[in-house]
């Protein structure tokens, strides 16, 4: 009997984890990626991965991890799903340890743990300050082993274009393009998993890699997939502002004792410690980002009047810093020129992570049968705000769920009719026609300039503080950019490694995703987690303890927003206040 063939798009932590699970269950994987999977964006995660190991004498518990995650997410995450993730976390760490991840260890050789934001106990396992790189490499190595055995076929430097549905509307394959030869090809798959990461590039400058454009998510959205909670965009409080990208300065800096301050009346003002006595510098990211924004924008106390504050490690012994944070301090020196062991770093918040994404059930099925989503591209686990070091966890964990489920669907699912060769040829031809049309575009706009404008408007209006009339304005501006997309002129009309033409196609998807985020932000009239409106400064559980669902209205080419209930049965929602220690209603 032929083996089940699963298509996995994206080779970051989640896609690779799913791939391993599929191989172990006897399936075969066609693995598609923009780049060699070892270069995926998961490797930019620095600080660590949360799991209740309880090896620091603090009586940490899985329940506490679960509660911190739900509370940190301002009660918008599906609680049963979160519980599953927290339960599995310690087992995942042991798996990574066996695979050879060089975790940082204590003197007696067990895994060291550090503090992270929004958590009172030491719960974050780490490999220096390059935890994501190390975890990704471990899975990359394991997948390579399966590749040698013939269970995995990698399509690296291939771009996903769209899914192919049969006449019953079930996803049975994809169309993809070779980024060198420009060849477009249709592929059959029993199940398709998208593990394509976040949409950071929609905001232009952010902490994401250039490949994190959300294009695949937007493509399947336009083919009928629901998007859940897209308005919840995490702004990381501590990034190094840059003209090409904002480089992340890990939360581990605060976890290891870093203090955030500005000068006020000539003296250092440790404003996080003053505003939030219970958590101090270790408040969650949304809280820290809003405080920094307020200090700079409203109180005008930024360094030299600019939008910068200090993140200070200079009081910590240099050898300790080297062991715990080495890699990123070197990065700061390299890109900025100052030595953070001696002088405070200068940082400012930046777009970092999308809590929202493709809506999935607890098994990671989307509303399109046969199509699954896994990792940052899905909306699961984080609610309205993600705790630091929960992203590596959710990425890896989601793969352990989506992989086996993909095999179950391949074996037992009601998959309807097979795709005929004509179906494949037709799907391919549509993409070929679209691509050839792009090659002929001879308008006056430059795609990269247009992208820059999109990023500017999104960064200005849809980040830390949101105002309804500004969001209306932003939506209208993004719609104008969508119209201007038609007037792009392409300088490269060739059929060999044409990055420009591929970028034009991605850009249209990015613009549409920008509309999704803006619309969802406009409709949610409350403040919750990363979504803050001064006009509606409090959380409104009566109206908005609900998952945002965005659908694509193909006729109007516009997103439409509705709300659905979700599971918050395990922990009763309570007010979220990091100025005082957390109290639980059990």
């Amino acid at each position: 009997m032929a083996k089940n063939k699963i298509i996995v798009v994206g080779g970051g932590l989640s896609g690779l984890m799913a791939t391993l699970k599929i191989c172990e269950a006897g399936g075969e994987v066609d693995l598609f990626s923009y780049c060699p999977v070892k270069r995926s964006h998961s490797l930019c995660a620095q600080g660590g991965i949360n799991a209740c190991m309880d090896t620091k004498g603090e009586h940490d518990s899985i329940y506490e991890h679960f509660d911190d995650t739900v509370y940190g997410g301002d009660f918008l995450a599906d609680q049963t799903a979160v519980k599953g993730m927290c339960d599995a976390a310690p087992k995942l760490i042991k798996m990574f340890d066996r695979m050879g991840v060089p975790f940082t260890r204590t003197a007696e050789g067990v895994l060291d743990l550090r503090n992270f934001g929004g958590q009172k106990n030491k719960r974050t396992c780490f490999a220096g300050s390059t935890t994501g790189q190390q975890l990704l490499y471990a899975l990359d190595e394991q997948v390579r082993k399966w590749e040698v055995q013939g269970s995995v076929k990698k399509y690296e430097f291939w771009e996903f274009i769209k899914v192919i549905k049969n006449k019953e509307g079930i996803c049975r394959g994809i169309v993809a393009q070779n980024m060198n030869s420009m060849e477009i090809q249709a592929f059959r798959g029993d199940t398709t998993i998208l593990a394509t990461g976040g949409p950071g590039m929609v905001f232009g400058r952010c902490t994401a890699s250039t490949i994190c454009n959300g294009s695949a998510v937007s493509a399947v959205f336009q083919q009928g997939a629901h998007i859940g909670n897209p308005e919840f965009i995490q702004i990381h409080p501590t990034a190094i502002p840059g003209s090409d990208k904002n480089r992340l300065m890990s939360e581990a800096c605060r976890g290891e004792g870093g203090r955030v301050w500005v000068y006020k009346d000539g003296k250092p003002w440790y404003f996080l410690e003053e505003m939030f006595p219970a958590y101090g510098n270790l408040v969650p990211r949304d809280v820290a980002s809003r405080a920094i924004y307020d200090v700079c924008m409203n109180q005008h106390l930024g360094i030299n009047g600019e939008n910068r504050v200090y993140l200070d490690l200079s009081h910590i012994p240099a050898d300790y810093l080297e062991r715990k944070l080495g890699g990123i301090l070197e990065m700061y020196s390299e890109f900025v020129g100052d030595d953070p062991r001696k002088v405070p770093m200068q940082i400012y918040p930046s777009v970092h992570y999308s809590m929202g994404g493709i809506w999935v059930d607890r098994k990671h099925n989307t509303n399109i049968p046969g199509l699954m989503a896994s990792g940052e591209c899905d909306y699961q686990y984080h609610g309205a705000n993600r705790l630091g070091a929960n992203s590596l966890l959710s990425a890896a964990y989601s793969g352990t769920v989506s992989g086996p489920e993909a095999m179950r669907w391949a074996k037992e699912g009601e998959r309807g009719s097979e795709l005929t060769d004509e179906d494949l040829a037709k799907a391919k031809q549509e993409c070929v026609d679209d691509f050839e049309a792009i090659l002929k575009m001879d308008g006056k706009e430059n795609a990269h300039e247009l992208h820059h404008e999109l990023g500017d408007v999104m960064n200005k209006y849809v980040t830390i503080e949101r105002v309804n009339k500004d969001l209306d304005y932003c939506f209208a501006e993004v719609k104008k950019i969508l119209v201007r997309w038609n007037d792009i002129g392409v300088t490269d009309r060739g059929h060999w490694a044409n990055q420009e033409a591929m970028f034009v196609r991605q850009l249209r998807n990015m613009i549409i995703y920008a509309l999704v985020v803006t619309k969802a932000a406009r409709m949610r009239d409350e403040s919750r987690g990363a979504h803050y409106k001064r006009e509606f400064p409090t959380r409104d559980d009566e109206r908005f303890l609900k998952t945002t669902i965005v659908d694509f209205n193909a006729e109007k080419q516009e997103p439409e927003v509705t709300y659905i209930d979700f599971d918050h049965s395990l922990i009763k929602p309570r007010p979220r206040n990091y100025a005082v220690a957390k109290k639980e209603d059990k």
Partner: protein
Amino acid sequence: MAEQNKKTVTFIIERQDAPDSKPYTQEFEVAYRPSLNVVAALMEIQKNPVTKDGKKVAPVVWECNCLEKVCGACMMVINGRARQACCSLIDQLEQPIHLAPARTFPVIRDLLIDRSVMFESLKRIQGWVNVDGTWEVKDAPIQNPYTAQTAYEISHCMTCGCCLEACPNVGPQSDFIGPAPTVQAYLFNLHPLGKFDKEKRLNTLAEKGGITSCGNSQNCVEVCPKSIKLTTYLAQLNRDVNKQALKNIFNK
């Protein structure tokens, strides 16, 4: 101030339209700004792909992802030296700045190269710990924290290929798989479970293209962007391979 605003940076870029076509150079000018790096400058050229003499051309093709020196994608030859473009700051480079593809690898287009040979070499050295599966087995073994720190250092290798580009023994004249993949064998031999396959890896490195092809020129350690002590580990591996070879003779 006005003078500074007009300051520009000149790039001389070696271009090539396809793998088998002839290389040629083009000059570009980019407006200077503080902390500008080579990738950011290439992005500016994308926005306005016009050469210094006013000719509109196809934008320069190159590979990049993270822009933080962890993904390894943007390796190219900058002023004659293999390095990551994202962390090559203009202020620290002599101008005009020469960019060229790393020609140890096949060129796909412009600065974009094909490094798949490195990933193939990782298969050859069995660069993985042979775990039974992703399921729960038991607690992972405790590890000496000092050994783990060495593993951490080597595990920073991002397969960028700087060391292969700099190595005089990697190229059409030799089968040498290069410093990076070779040293990865040392990494897996350090791990308490990975070392179960140590003999296999050492025997592989004793074959053609393995460590005997290393000429000890020490170029690799000079260019490694992650400061991995490549020559130290190559020397250690060389001893291990020799020991293994003797063992093999006595066990025959």
